[in-house]
Symmetry: C2
Subunit: 353 residues, 2 copies
């Protein structure tokens, strides 16, 4: 259940109550793709203030499979994480990451990128899988073309997303009754950069009725102002008393602006991916490319004002050395830095509202 | 300075005072090859009771180079580790891991395995490098053939090891005076499986006089009883009031027996390497091969009695999943397990003496 506490010109402040605790909004979701973070342990993540995780249905469905997770007592038990978890629907991955064998109104046929084995996910399967995974917040299965895809493609995707959303809702209600659990189900607004399609999609999803609404298909090639135009259009349509989730936006300035437009939730892998490739997000807003030769003998702290203790304690020269050699501890230091900076920025924005 | 507190039929108990604190003996040295552990952070290592680190001179000489470390204020500052550090001499690596271009009484010419650049380390260089690295305990540069090499080779290696030990001692004394530091220097007893050569090497090193004595060239192909025969011969020759270091022995039962023969210090990478390859050392002494299919749906704790909290909290099925996918968190869990079991075994043996 979402409670809006405050609505200001700079954003909304509220709480989202889940089966595993109450989240203060706005919040950021670190991504534990297959049930673990790449580069950080859960203890490290908790030490820098993480309150919630996102895991990917696509990856968990392939390995270890939702039945294994279900047998273990659900994702919280399986991965030993006692705070809230959100799972995505798998839609983004099957549409963007993998070769699709066949797309129909029933869903998507695709192949496991490792074994080549055939798989099928549609709205019914996405609900069944996510209920077995047992997350606190689950997502509708949607068709997500790039924001820059042609209008005809967007029309088709919006129509299918709406039809699938109805099926998701029905299946979800059935599974809630059967399993006696109560995860929150979010709808996903598609429509690319077409205002009328975004509007239509939002309105139809609201008519079906969800526990929250995501804005999907952004941050995938369009300009920043095009992205914000979508938020300016969609957020005012969405119900005040439901949380709003902007998927896949990790840039800290864009998050801050998104919050001002009325967004309550964000996720992104960029902070961690950039860290693993040696780009550190400093607490002063600058980026530090630690692999550059100029840092070989720079014995100053990585970031003296960092929210990550590792970046206060360790030297640039040491991190340069570790990352040049591909030593994992270098990745840990870098990931801690970028995630800690991300989580602190969100906290500061939240507390400023 | 070493203080022998107790000598029992099961082993010796004592303390070794270094510039960065007092170590209780016997102890185990986790290996942070290039200044970081593979698979664990320093915080994780400290949380399971590590008191001391070993770093490799060979690796640090190549990257980042001892001058960078020296400029940073030495290894303790460079890697931010405030407890004792031991560096090896680089001898083992140049003889066993790399192609040697040329071996003479002055030292060894070899090539960087990455860049192909030529390098030279002899007894003088090994002391200069280690003094710049700034460890608390440093090792003589020795020639280390496999224990199973022919007698003629062992004779040559022992003679050179003794000559080099004299040069190391002289260079070390000069550097101590110049740098106004006081690291402990250990000699290394070579001689393969030849009793007379081991005896000769030990006696000559004792005549030169070191702060401690290592037994090298073991655990590299000989049988367990051949290894223990060397300890039975060498330990009684070594001075009672100096610490004794058995290099490269990681097996927990062999460590326990080594302690009974009078050994005070051990190091080995086996615990961590086996962990990274999916073999867990359980607290009951058994080994768990977590990648086996039988663990896919085994939702019991990895090791309910483990000294590592991660192994008490996490399920076998989860670790199986992570390691099958090559997720780094799996390595962390496995490395924590094997290192925690190693450190606890050492502590229990120490406290039983």
């Amino acid at each position: 259940m979402f409670t809006l506490q405050k609505s200001t010109p700079n954003g909304r402040r509220g709480t989202l109550t889940t089966a595993h605790g109450v989240l203060e909004t706005p919040f950021f979701l670190p991504v534990a793709t297959a049930g673990a973070m790449k580069g950080l342990t859960f203890d490290e993540l908790l030490s820098i203030g993480a309150e919630v995780l996102l895991s990917n249905t696509y990856h968990l469905h392939l390995h270890p499979g939702e039945d294994t997770v279900d047998q273990a007592g659900g994702l919280h038990s399986f991965i030993h994480w006692n705070k809230p978890i959100l799972t995505d629907s798998g839609g983004f991955q099957v549409f963007s990451l993998r070769q699709i064998s066949k797309l129909s109104d029933a869903g998507v046929e695709f192949r496991d990128h490792r074994s080549g084995a055939p798989h099928f996910i549609g709205p019914v399967e996405a609900m069944q899988i996510q209920h077995k995974l047992g997350a606190d917040i689950i997502m509708c299965f949607d068709e997500c073309p790039p924001s820059t895809a042609p209008r005809a493609k967007q029309i088709e995707a919006v129509d299918r997303t709406i039809r699938w959303a109805k099926t998701c809702k029905e299946t979800h209600e059935k599974l809630k009754a059967e399993r006696k659990t109560n995860p929150l189900l979010f709808g996903i607004v598609q429509g690319g950069l077409e205002p009328d399609l975004r509007k239509k999609c939002a309105e139809e999803l609201i008519a079906i009725g969800f526990d929250g609404y995501a804005v999907g298909g952004l941050a995938v090639g369009e300009s920043e102002s095009e992205m914000f135009d979508v938020l300016k259009l969609v957020c005012p349509i969405l119900p005040e008393d439901k949380p709003r989730y902007l998927m896949g936006v990790g840039d800290l300035n864009q998050q801050k602006q998104g919050i001002a437009y009325g967004i309550d939730m964000f996720d992104c892998v960029a902070a961690m991916r950039e860290a693993r490739h040696g780009t550190l997000w400093l607490s002063n807003g600058e980026k530090l490319r630690i692999l550059r030769a100029e840092h070989k003998n720079d014995h100053s702290p990585i970031d003296a004002n960092s929210p990550s203790p590792l970046s206060r304690d360790h030297l640039k020269s040491y991190l340069h050395h570790l990352m040049r050699l591909g030593e994992r501890y270098g990745e840990t230091i870098a990931c801690m830095q970028n995630m800690a900076v991300t989580l602190r920025a969100m906290k500061e924005t939240r507390e400023s509202l």
